[in-house]
Symmetry: C4
Subunit: 376 residues, 4 copies
């Protein structure tokens, strides 16, 4: 059991020693708040509407009660798992998030490298600061997935999938819960706009005249508006499915009905997600509907969950309820802001240790030893 | 989809730019608190007894969980609905409230005009600052309803319905939950009395010698006392029903039993309401009894709901539970106090945008696409 | 309907005008805190243990939801009721409490007079400041009950019942939940002892040498210790029952089992009570077990309830659940401390108005019109 | 009934009179906070992870509602019970805890003596400050149990059981919920390590070269790491069972499944425990799973409970749910820090009084009179 944090590694890259005082993912948030602009911090932290779901996403995990078993041999704990056919060091992936450059100049390059070091998949957003190719070059051995927003010009969307496949990304994660942008009042109060460069668009001839890679405040939103696709329907999934041989993941499903449709339309995995509570307020915390979705999918696809996970223990809960991977978002950007790649290294090391200890203490040497009865 | 607030319009009428910083209905409250007298503010804000229900009215909406569906074509979202035979821009109406003059000198004229602009019905109270005719002249094309308190002299009450019909009001909303006035301690502590003019009584010969149109503090309450009708019973509903061909709406019902009686006595619509928690404390939040009432009514009348709605999302929740219209009260008076007609314009624009985004994000291009399964 | 507070009366006796600012029973507490010694205030206010039940007693009422009915003729509301054969102005009685002299020099005389004025029963404690006879003389027409603690010398206890009967008290209320004194930490921290005179013992020859009517600190507790009866058992109830023709009320029952035993042993009424949460912490709030007790008693005795009631609305809730009388304690002592007899007058006037308005607003002209369905 | 605190005794040993102001166990905590180093205080007070379970352990008891019975003869209350064949003054034992020397120089000697005085069992931890033999000599007549951590060298572990038996300890309490150490962030933030002497190891030839009895910070954790046994499995229980004739108690079980296995493997008693919420966060509060365990054990072993008990009333709750003994931990160390042996005397006297009063007030003269129906 690897129960000690790799402090030496983290502190070596932590000149001001702030990282060394972080012992849980939540603690990166305060450092990030100091290091990001208020508007960028709020863009990452904020949610839709009254932010009821934002709080519920975290609270829902905490309501789950573990049922630990004792006197099981846990002298060797193995936290690894298989996700979409890849062996990962723990059943966790970095959630797709726009514009890591808001948090740190190394942006997605730093996070992808830390993910590769930790042995967990990294998901690159269409709206990333660094490009598909740049991130692939920086973390060539890491497991990388590409998150796709569908452009109104479907040819452009297809080109993205081809670039991702060419650059060694192993899955396409299609966001299905952004037909229109949710109302995030923090951004309106701050007058915030995405005014950082968009790496996947910059200097690409196919976007010439369509968007400004260094979008102005207004243009930033215009670009997002251009990206979102209110007319995307289930029938389109077959088309998209045909663009690539990569596994297709549908992200943003919260009901058994849509989960069934997703597998009927060829999804290889479903991410139970409310988009980090950034789209529609007063929806279920994803972990609270995992069981409904797992039952509907009935083993025909992988079920993952996204939203509010903060602890290694959450990975055990997700597994017990039938979700084979947990995507983590905001805490990774906080860690990035707090310490660049070293910050993300530390965040992932904390999660890894927490997961290993949780496995040992619930009495399971491996994740396959986790049963439904491990959660009350 | 109209997803951008009509900021230009609002700011043009907003010399001190306070309106431009409001992004949710609750934010008008703080501005209203500055601009109204403490006693008038508390008269509007207060509730009965311990104000337990006052808080519950708002909290009950927030407990409802939406179940959004994805990959539905929402490229054109239409938030319109039909309410009592009129097409409205959204399934929302301005609740009847006394004495808008407490909030702003333009009083009901401003609110009725903003409602007409927004395409939603406005309900004029018997106890309004401006008269039936004045409001009709100011918003001739708007959908207007008249809220009726029954006078002890039934001839006077009937005369009100005739004035309303003559002035183009499209429904009579009869308040049935004020046999006596609830105990509102804020008013007692402030020594508050309705000392603004009552437009429907001023200069009318039929009230000569009965009330003082500019009632003194004591007289204000005396007039309300004169208006309320503790002896009004179900048998009277048939009489009132016979006074007019306008649809008859009974407002203030909280039980299946009374809902059944209402339709048996010819009500065209029922407003599930606890009078903004101003009458009896510790009653159900209206949204929590909508389903009970809808089941009892069984399609024989429209069921509306009133109390605590603050968000466009609430209109989706109401619809899913079977209520076809939501009445909104206090936030409209706050918006009126904050910015006159422009304030109410902005409040209604916020609700409209919230509703349209909510429809898109739950996966319904129109309200008729909302099903019971959209709420958990 | 009498909906206006008798302010004139109250203010006439309220030289410093503090009473006139009280609009709910809870508001007397702050004034009482100023006017009583800290130790006496805490003796009255405190509860057992962690005071969990102390808070629950009040909170439990607030959780109950009324189901108001409309369009019922409530032009005449009659709040009167019959309790143990006496007609009372409202189904409320003053709970027995020791040593009203802690709150005001007029002590039980003031409270008994105010109760008589208001038409509600007053219960005199064995441990009162003023004697059985003094209180009877001060409020000869009032309905008075006598609360009995059983002395180890049963002859003394019987003598109390005979004095009460002779002085026109109409019932014996036997406390059955004080086999030992509960642990009230506030009193221990304050070093509090009952050091006010005990009117029922002072100057009585039968107690000569047994107690000091002006007990010292230690003696005060010693006397209470002498009063409580840890060996009192059900078989004794028949004996006590035989001492008097007055109705026998057993106070302090919280289970269906004991309620059945109480009626089997001849109780005319049962008070569902946890002794104001002063005896054992973490017991049910009385209102929460009323239905269990009512079902067990099955009409063979009256069921009353005691603990946490603060509002006229509570009397409606109690009635709907089957309790025909509500005993109110601490707020009466607060009102006594705040304004002597005039304070209690005002407290009872507030309750009366609240009850009448609640009856009108739930749609019941009389208490007999209250049904189980009036509470959700 | 002994209802008065033995204040004379306590104050005699309480030169600064702080103890005399403690009336509930929680009050020792504030004094302990002043008298212990911040790191030592936090080591005792802290829990695993977010400390969700730490709070729940206490809260769960408070949610239980007692159902008191009246008119039962409680003139003589007897709080004694039989636990593992020993008669104890109350069904309570001192939980095993490491390094009492962190709280007070008299360490386990003081606590064991106070336990003996109070007639309750004391459990000595393997990781104690004072040795097995020293504690036995100091409290020769007390009921003493020995808590065992299994060393990797099983011979050393067996030697501990033999030393305990030789020194008159009456049971072996085997901790089964520490395969690895839980993550306690307070200790990490403080940089805390167990740097007090470990009495059971000091000067013992069998440990020569294995551990430093006055372990340095790092060594302290190293020693704990050496002690814990991630490979301990059910099959080992038979081996351990064979080392001694003493009763074998398995501590740290939270499920019916493991409870069944425990009795199948010869456990004489089971401690339902989450290790004071120090191992895995988000597990059930022990009292909440007692009934599940009692049902599974079905009388084949004693069931005890550990975690969060603070009141004598909790012993009644535990008994009603089927747990025959309650282990109390942190409050004892707080009391030790606050006043040495006299502090623990007072803490146990408070519990004893609370238990006796609770028995009288629920209507049970003895613990065997407590039934399941005494808890709602």
């Amino acid at each position: 059991v690897r129960v000690t944090l790799t402090d030496a590694l983290a502190t070596a890259r932590d000149p001001d020693a702030r990282l060394a005082s972080t012992f849980r993912l939540q603690e990166f948030e305060a450092i990030a708040r100091e290091r990001m602009t208020p508007a960028a911090f709020d863009y990452v932290a904020g949610g839709a509407g009254d932010e009821t779901s934002l709080g519920e996403n975290v609270a829902a995990w905490r309501r789950r009660i573990l049922r630990p078993r004792v006197l099981v041999d846990v002298s060797t704990v193995d936290s690894s798992a298989t996700v979409l056919g890849s062996r990962v060091a723990m059943p966790l992936a970095i959630a797709p998030m726009a514009s890591h450059g808001l948090a740190h100049p190394d942006a997605e390059v730093a996070v992808a490298r830390a993910a590769a070091t930790a042995g967990v998949p990294f998901t690159l957003s269409t709206m990333s600061t660094r490009s598909i190719e740049e991130v692939a070059a920086a973390a060539p051995d890491g497991i990388r997935w590409f998150q796709l927003y569908i452009q109104e010009d479907r040819g452009l969307a297809r080109a993205f999938t081809e670039r991702a496949a060419a650059a060694g990304y192993r899955a396409i994660v299609l966001t299905v819960d952004l037909p229109v942008l949710g109302i995030r009042e923090r951004d309106r109060r701050r007058g915030f706009t995405l005014d950082v460069p968009l790496g996947n668009f910059a200097g690409r001839t196919e976007f010439a005249g369509r968007t400004d890679p260094k979008a102005s405040a207004t243009d930033g939103y215009a670009m997002v508006a251009g990206v979102r696709e209110a007319s995307l329907v289930w029938a389109d999934i077959a088309t998209i499915r045909g663009w690539t041989d990569l596994p297709l993941v549908l992200k943003g499903i919260l009901t058994a009905e849509d989960a069934r449709l997703a597998v009927d339309h060829g999804a290889d995995a479903i991410v139970v997600s409310n988009h980090g509570a950034r789209q529609l307020d007063r929806v279920a915390a994803p972990i609270d509907v995992v069981e409904e979705v797992v039952a509907a999918v009935d083993g025909r696809a992988e079920v993952w969950v996204d939203g509010g996970a903060r602890r290694g223990i959450d990975l055990v809960v997700a597994r017990a309820l039938g979700a084979s991977c947990v995507l983590i978002g905001r805490p990774i950007l906080w860690a990035l802001a707090a310490g660049g790649e070293a910050g993300v290294d530390r965040a992932l090391a904390i999660l890894r240790e927490e997961l290993e200890v949780a496995l040992a203490l619930v009495g399971a040497a491996t994740l396959s030893g986790i049963a439904r009865t491990h959660v009350g």
